[in-house]
């Protein structure tokens, strides 16, 4: 990961004493490990990225690739594992607007949470409290950060519900979550997370539980709200269509690590990692003529306890046997720059990958 920091943003070695970065959000060598009876689960194992204000970063990957763990890590929600004896082991640095969050005082982070950074969860039904009305929950979120009376806060809640497109917000504000439909619950979640105008919004699979028609509404809403508030957005999903709609930059995760990162156009049109090729080949596309067959990635995602040595994708990689120069299989490939602001972690040489992509993969997509 050190190589990335060198070639990427103009920062030195990521040490605890490194200076505050220029980017609005910078994550450096983030590691989140969970000790379990079976061994150490390395959910996120060295992740580095930057995000500017007003930009959208898409994080894609299969389930278990560490997407959600990353987002919870940024929000500082992993320390909540105090119920059990074991805690998540987090290392690395997360800089949000000049503040390092991992070493910061938990009370300070709590003040930032909801105010400066907010999160939209995947399943609104389990993220909303069934016992309180939608209004009460939004009011609570607002009053924690603003010293206002309940009436003002409720007016603000109605305003936000209206903003996210809930009909009759003044009546709906007193409804309970179960009285809302799935799409409306997700809207209410968005209203709640945006009530304090956060500068960083993390949307963790915001539309996975929704129908396509509602998904389209929600994606448009997120896009419009981002324009309006100028926030930085991280959108986590497994649906390449969704990220293509929203994201400026893309980060492809596999086995807890980033395998490819770059501007969305680059990653879609000139992907340089076999896993990204696999993802692109796996999905049937409406905008193309019918393919005869999909090109799946063989095998299943790796166990995060026994991540394969060397490249984590090695057992599933169709090009694992392509001869590589001066490379030991057991060495993990580091992210290397393959284009401007575009990194990929693969042992194959750039030329090899370029040839495989243009000759073998791209024509079949």
């Amino acid at each position: 990961m050190t190589e990335l920091s060198k070639s990427g943003a103009a920062v030195g070695e990521p040490t605890a004493a490194s200076p505050a970065p220029s980017a609005f959000l910078e994550v450096r060598d983030l590691k989140v490990h969970f000790p379990t009876d079976d061994g150490l689960v390395k959910s996120v194992d060295g992740l580095t990225f930057q995000l500017e204000k007003g930009k959208t970063l898409g994080i894609v990957g299969e389930s278990g690739s560490g997407k959600s763990v990353t987002s919870l890590g940024i929000m500082g929600l992993h320390t909540a594992g105090q119920y059990g004896k074991r805690k998540a082991q987090i290392s690395g640095e997360i800089w949000l607007d000049g503040t390092e969050l991992l070493s910061a005082d938990p009370d300070h982070v709590r003040k930032l949470r909801g105010r400066q950074m907010a999160m939209i969860f995947q399943d609104p039904l389990s993220a909303l409290h069934p016992y309180y009305t939608i209004g009460q929950q939004i009011v609570e979120a607002y009053r924690i950060h603003h010293d206002v009376d309940k009436k003002t806060a409720k007016r603000r809640a109605v305003e936000m519900l209206d903003r996210v497109g809930i009909p009759q917000p003044d009546k709906r504000v007193d409804n309970y979550p179960h009285e809302f439909s799935g799409g409306m619950r997700q809207r209410a979640m968005i209203a709640m997370s945006l009530v304090n105008n956060p500068e960083l919004l993390i949307a963790d699979e915001p539309t996975t539980a929704l129908d396509v028609t509602v998904q389209a509404q929600i994606l448009d809403l997120i896009r419009d709200l981002q324009k309006e508030f100028g926030s930085a957005v991280i959108i986590i999903t497994h649906d390449l269509g969704v990220v293509a709609e929203l994201a400026d930059d893309l980060l492809v995760m596999y086995g807890g690590r980033c395998v490819e990162r770059g501007p969305a156009e680059k990653v879609f049109y000139e992907p340089r990692h076999p896993y990204t090729w696999g993802l692109l080949g796996s999905m049937p596309r409406l905008d193309r003529d019918q393919q005869e067959r999909l090109i799946p990635v063989k095998g299943s995602p790796p166990s995060l306890i026994n991540v394969p040595s060397g490249c984590a994708f090695n057992p599933r990689c169709p090009y694992a046997d392509v001869p590589k120069d001066n490379v030991t299989r057991t060495v993990r490939p580091e992210l290397a720059e393959v284009g401007s602001k575009h990194w990929a972690a693969c042992h194959m040489s750039q030329e090899q990958r370029e040839r495989i992509w243009t000759e073998e993969i791209a024509p079949k997509l």
Binding site: E62, S63, P167, S181, G182, G183, M184, D211, V212, T213, V214, Q215, A216, Q217, L219, D220, R223, H238, D239, L240, G241, V242, V243, A244, E245, L246, A247, A264, E265, F268, G278, L279, L280, G281, S282, M283, P284, R285, L286, D287, D289, Q290, Q291, R293, L294, I295, P296, V297, K298, G299, S300, P301, P302, S303, N306, P308, P315, R316
Partner: protein, 539 residues
Amino acid sequence: MSDKAKDEAVAIPAQSDGTTLTKDPAPGEVLLKVTGLQKHFPIKKGLLQRQVGAVHAVDGLDFEVRAGETLGVVGESGCGKSTMGRLITRLLEPTGGKVEFEGKDITHLGVGGMRPLRRDVQMIFQDPYSSLNPRHTIGTIIGAPFKLQGVEPEGGIKKEVQRLLSVVGLNPEHYNRYPHEFSGGQRQRIGIARALALNPKLVVADEPVSALDVSIQAQVVNLLDDLQQELGLTYVIIAHDLSVVRHVSDRIAVMYLGKIVELADRDLLYKTPMHPYTKALMSAVPIPDPARKSAKSERILLKGDVPSPISPPSGCRFHTRCWKATEICKTTEPPLLELRPGQQVACHHPENFEDQAPQDTVLLSDAKEAAELVSDEALAESAATSAAVAAEMGVSGAGDTETAESAEPETATEPAESETASESTKADAGSESAESETASESTKAEAGSESAEAEAGSESAESETASESTKAEAGSESAEAEAGSESAEPETASESTKAEAASESAEADAASESTEPEAAEAESTEAEAAESEPPAKEK
């Protein structure tokens, strides 16, 4: 499970196993016929549990499934697609209608009566985690159908189960493992193996891949594909993902609130969807191509949510969210008609086709609201495409009677003139053409194309009122003709070359009647459009 074993487990099934399983269902023969299928779930309230209403989950379905084909069923959650799946497998008893399997009425067969049929009709469930009994081994799970049906396969159950495991790409040695030892994709394969155990004729798969990761999803889709080819299976695949459905299906039924709104061959449906709901549904699918990020305007947003199936809207059930809804949509339910060979649609105002109720032009207030969510481009496109298709119909009709050339220029400009006369009377023009259309539907030669043009005129008038009013001021027929053709042309590129012929004649007319610079302009746009058309039509 070791990684090595995993890799082996997901290998593509061996081809050799298929042959012994294959039966001979005559392809194309109707395997399953459903007429007027209904399922209402009663809502009971109070101490006496009196019925106070019903959820109209499935409310009158008619379709057929032919042997060897794949019927895809799509729709939003709550549209009744899963209920439909359970009705045709008779896991639920229909409230009304009829289900025929191989000509035999199975609508109200009891458990005993259904048992012999269970061999032929099998189901693959959505959730591979809850559809396998965690306390049984894989061998027991896949072997259960043999025991229940009292079938003794050649070489014993164990051997047969192991063969099935290898057919679906699992390791036969995993016979004694439990479901929790498998990943999601592997469990789905187990579910598929169980469904295939008795060599069924029809497999109903309810969201077979929606719980799986993208890369695994592709494996299972390919597996289903292979099995169909090897074993000659017939599938009904229920899914909400339109791109998956397109990939696997031969024909597709689009459901909305318990009804089929469109049932068409795959390519027809995806290239020229007729029902506005189908169109909206398809435009909502996010396309994995960042270059289209800016193409947000193409999307048709539907307002609000699906209405409650407890008291579904009157008339066309989609009228509360449709941007084309008129009075007739509110009062009369459109029948599912085969408007084009291989494409059945239930709509009064279909897209990509001539209007079924052209006399009804006043939009409902709901529709106006809904239309605000639809971009102008999409509206103009829909107007233009339906005009083009209608023109095509008209022209082809004219071609039959060999009056095409003489009829064309006249019919093309006539309605335009009426438009110029008074823009506010476009409703009149509409009803006029409707009359002529109904009067001579069979001969269609002139009437067809006339109404088509009038439609194009009035619809483009709506979306481009500004430009048209200025044109009207100019007061020249040619300007009108141009307005019509201009709006129709660029959009129809993929639709037909027939439209080109129609507007070309309009253009010729315009050019001859006026020497205004606009005419020249029209010509140039026409030429451009004409150039771009042939390659588009190739596909």
